[in-house]
């Protein structure tokens, strides 16, 4: 029995040592996190008191929005349709652009740059993947810039209207879609690819018959998801004058017609919610 007691005591001892070590580590990380949060909170003037004080204004804002002026819906039909149209074309263009771009942005399908007698150095420097890296970088730029920024720039380049909105959504969504799909293509099952290579198929044939079919379901599924996101983005493009419901929202807000603003928000909510529902059903059907 004493042998067992000894083993238990030893394990308990070890446990307390480990616990202390873990505690120190946890305390360290927690205090670091708290310090960061504290510092950043100060920097951005975050304080609950201001929020609590602001509740008077919030309440005022809310009460002035209620009841929503539902008759305003009749003027929102056009804007709602436009929002959907922007999202449809934005996403469609993105899908079209993404097909070639995602092939360029995957290591296993991108065209390699080869110079016969210079190959080894070329590869060691990664220069044979020049097309791949350039495409990825380009896509990262598209991804990194919010569609609203694009919209703002396009509005000032080509004028107010949904056209700027479509281009903005198309560019940002292309970045997202092509990068995702490029990664999907890189992740295809090697077995099928090798089986096809072993038969002496050309590179193009391998891509067409072994790579693309594997990546298609994910691509479609992600495109549908992107459409859902695009609808949500399209509801705010109007804030910078690029068409859709956001324009009505900002207009009524600037004119202090809050009950109408409330109606806009309501319509936006319903539109986003309905799209979400449709898209999730659609995606479930495809997978």
């Amino acid at each position: 029995m004493t042998a067992i007691d000894g083993a238990v005591a030893a394990a308990l001892q070890l446990e307390s040592v480990r616990r202390r070590r873990r505690l120190v580590k946890a305390l360290g990380w927690t205090s670091l996190a708290l310090a960061v949060l504290w510092f950043t909170a100060n920097e951005i003037g975050l304080n609950p008191i201001a929020l609590a004080k602001g509740r008077v204004h919030m309440w005022d804002f809310l009460t002035r929005m209620f009841p929503p002026d539902l008759s305003y819906i009749q003027f929102l039909g056009r804007a709602t349709v436009e929002t959907v149209q922007i999202a449809v074309w934005g996403t469609l263009l993105a899908v079209v652009f993404s097909i070639p771009l995602s092939l360029l942005a995957a290591r296993n399908t991108t065209p390699l740059i080869r110079i016969p007698w210079f190959n080894e150095h070329w590869e060691r420097l990664g220069l044979h993947l020049l097309v791949f890296h350039t495409t990825r970088m380009f896509l990262n730029c598209l991804r990194g810039i919010n569609e609203l920024i694009f919209a703002l720039i396009f509005v000032s380049a080509v004028g107010l209207g949904p056209f700027a909105g479509v281009l903005a959504i198309a560019l940002h969504a292309t970045g997202m879609l092509a990068k995702f799909c490029g990664e999907e293509i890189e992740g295809v099952d090697r077995g099928q690819v090798e089986a096809m290579q072993a038969t002496g198929a050309s590179k193009m044939q391998v891509i067409l018959f072994a790579v693309i079919p594997q990546a298609i379901p994910a691509f479609i599924s992600y495109s549908i998801f992107r459409f859902d996101v695009s609808i949500r983005s399209a509801t705010v493009l109007g804030l910078v004058g690029a068409g859709g419901l956001g324009f009505s929202l900002i207009k009524t807000l600037k004119l202090f017609r809050y009950p109408e603003t409330a109606t806009c928000i309501l319509v936006i909510f319903l539109l986003v919610w309905a799209t979400d529902w449709v898209c999730s059903k659609w995606r479930a059907k495809i997978i």
């Binding site: 929020l51 609203l148 479509v166």
Partner: protein, 271 residues
């Protein structure tokens, strides 16, 4: 000796032939689709002419940005950092609000259907209203500045993250949950000991990913006066200061790239 390439090609051919049966169906469907797209294109002023007109204009716009006016970076780096702070706090608030709501919305945790629907509804509401609209609301409440921006981001992302958290919790292995229940543990103990450990890695992944996205979103909050680099961006664009705009854009790109790299590094380390 079947040649796989040939076999695959034959498969595709066979599939195409099989489809012939549905040809009429398909043509009708496509006609409706094309009509719809044409109508939509008309609605958004999208036409070859418009494109031929617009794209050179956009190209010219970007050409005017060169060379960037680098000294402007002195003015912009501070708002850029503020943007990151907004994203940090936006995501912290999002988790603080979204996690409890997510727990309430998860089918396998909350048995009470009305409570679940209430939580789901709230998450949907938070999610559907874009952070910019929330920002307008909070700016009206507490005045201009990054603070309402962070709260606005928090509201929208609480909806997004809360739903993801709820889905993650609904998809866990129910075995350990039953095992802990069978020991006589209470409801909250079951959540802490059987559910959270299972979903923790996924939660961290979500937080990091949405932090990245949050930084990108926070770059536009300034357009409605909610802090961050968006304000400088709007100002330079409105004043047609192309070369300054270029600097702002490059700084945004640099910031986003650094954060993407950092976050993917952290993500690859959790398992």
């Amino acid at each position: 000796m079947a040649d796989p390439v040939q076999a695959a090609q034959e498969d595709v051919l066979a599939a195409l032939i099989a489809r012939k049966k549905w040809r009429f169906h398909h043509i009708a469907f496509m006609a409706v689709g094309i009509a719809f797209l044409a109508w939509a294109a008309d609605g958004v002023d999208l036409s070859p002419k418009e494109l031929a007109d617009g794209i050179p204009k956009i190209a010219k716009y970007f050409a005017l940005m060169i060379p960037p006016k680098w000294v402007f970076a002195d003015t912009v780096w501070q708002p850029a950092i503020e943007t990151v702070y907004i994203a940090i706090w936006g995501n912290v608030l999002a988790t603080l609000i979204g996690l409890p709501l997510g727990v309430l919305a998860a089918r396998n945790i909350t048995r009470l259907a009305p409570l679940r629907f209430f939580a789901k509804g709230t998450l949907n509401l938070l999610r559907s209203i874009s952070e910019l609209i929330w920002a307008i609301f909070f700016v009206a409440a507490v005045g201009l500045g990054p603070f309402p921006g962070a709260v606005a981001l928090g509201m929208n992302y609480a909806g997004i993250l809360g739903r993801l958290y709820a889905e993650a919790m609904e998809n866990i292995d129910p075995g350990p949950v039953e095992a802990i229940q069978a020991t006589g543990a209470g409801r909250i103990q079951v959540i802490l000991f059987a559910i959270f450990p299972q979903v923790l890695p996924q939660f961290v992944t979500y937080m990091l990913y949405w932090f990245e996205v949050g930084v990108r979103s926070a770059t536009v909050l300034g357009m409605v006066g909610a802090g961050g680099i968006g304000f400088e961006l709007v100002t330079t664009i409105r004043l047609f200061e192309f070369r300054e705009t270029a600097v702002v854009l490059l700084i945004i790109l640099a910031m986003v790239t650094i954060i993407d790299l950092a976050s993917s590094m952290i993500r690859s380390r959790i398992y």
